[in-house]
Amino acid sequence: MTKLSIFDAPDRTRVLWHDLKTFPSATHVYLDSILNGTYGEVPPAIASIMHSLKVAAIKNILTIENISILHKIENDSLEIKPTTAPLNEQASSALNFILPLATNDKKTISLTISPEALMHSDTRYGSTILQNMLVLALHFSSPGAALNLTSTQDGVMITGQTQATTQTISDQTSAKHIYSPEQTAETLPALFFYTTEQLANTLGFTFKITAENDTLSIYYAKK
């Protein structure tokens, strides 16, 4: 397949990703600012619409970032300079960014991430993996229980779990096949799953989703 010429010029590609993200990112920040009361109290009906727009903007940003990362992996141009960052800092950043997506979502999810997985990953991509894990967790949700995510004070582990049973995952022994990249009906989670798997692999870690009994587990740890 012939590449578009724009992808042959690194600088142009860099600007292209920047430009793609600018509108949803600026929209997200602006709506956030309004919803936080910068200009006074927002009527509930309008706030609800604004919240939906904000969620759509966040999804848009994450999608663009995932495509950008996949493009870098496929072109062998991923910049990885391992840094040691506090896990809590990354968890907090990922949670703050992703929590607007969680409204009204319900799930039975267990998130496990080994400390070294993020501590020895590039900070930026460690955060992306964490964000993608949360998006996948939210996508698996079904009525039953609220998502409860916590991060330990010492930065050792992040866990998220709920108490209810969900039919959507109870009979799966592995959720991976649900999100095969070819499955176009699940384009967004497929993209998030595939990117996370590729990125984790590039960083030297394992990312997998399994389901057993009532619990869907998302796991990210050193190989």
Partner: protein, 123 residues
């Protein structure tokens, strides 16, 4: 609460939504915010006015953020580079040419930006 002698911030960004959403929070906190739409516009403003802090986007028309920083870094003005770019090279270039801190636009809330501005200007 408006301050009697507000510190001046030059916010250099070509995206009006960013400038408005972040800038309004800084103004509400009592800072005086002047906007420049690109590096060249910022150079003009910086020669005629004194600023306590610069907030600089990297990708802008006419003169980029790095191009601007190369021209002004000797002035030693505290500078926040504020961008959606995520590459390590971008961060290194920004720090090399005088950025005090490097923040990711979009993922940084207006409140967090304000907190960083407060910290830098209280030094």
């Amino acid at each position: 609460m408006p301050k009697s002698n507000p510190k001046k911030i030059l916010f250099i960004d070509d995206e009006p939504l960013y400038v408005q959403s972040y800038g309004d929070v800084l103004v509400a906190a009592g800072y005086e915010v002047t906007v420049a739409r690109n590096g060249e516009d910022a150079l003009k403003k910086i020669t005629s006015e004194k600023f306590s802090l610069l907030i600089v986007d990297l990708i802008m028309p006419i003169l980029s953020g790095i191009g601007f920083l190369k021209k002004v870094h000797r002035k030693k003005i505290p500078t926040i580079v504020f961008t959606t770019l995520e590459g390590e090279t971008d961060r290194e270039d920004a720090l090399k040419y005088g950025a005090t801190i490097f923040l990711k636009k979009g993922e940084t809330s207006a409140k967090t930006l304000l907190s960083e501005v407060d910290k830098l200007l209280q030094k």
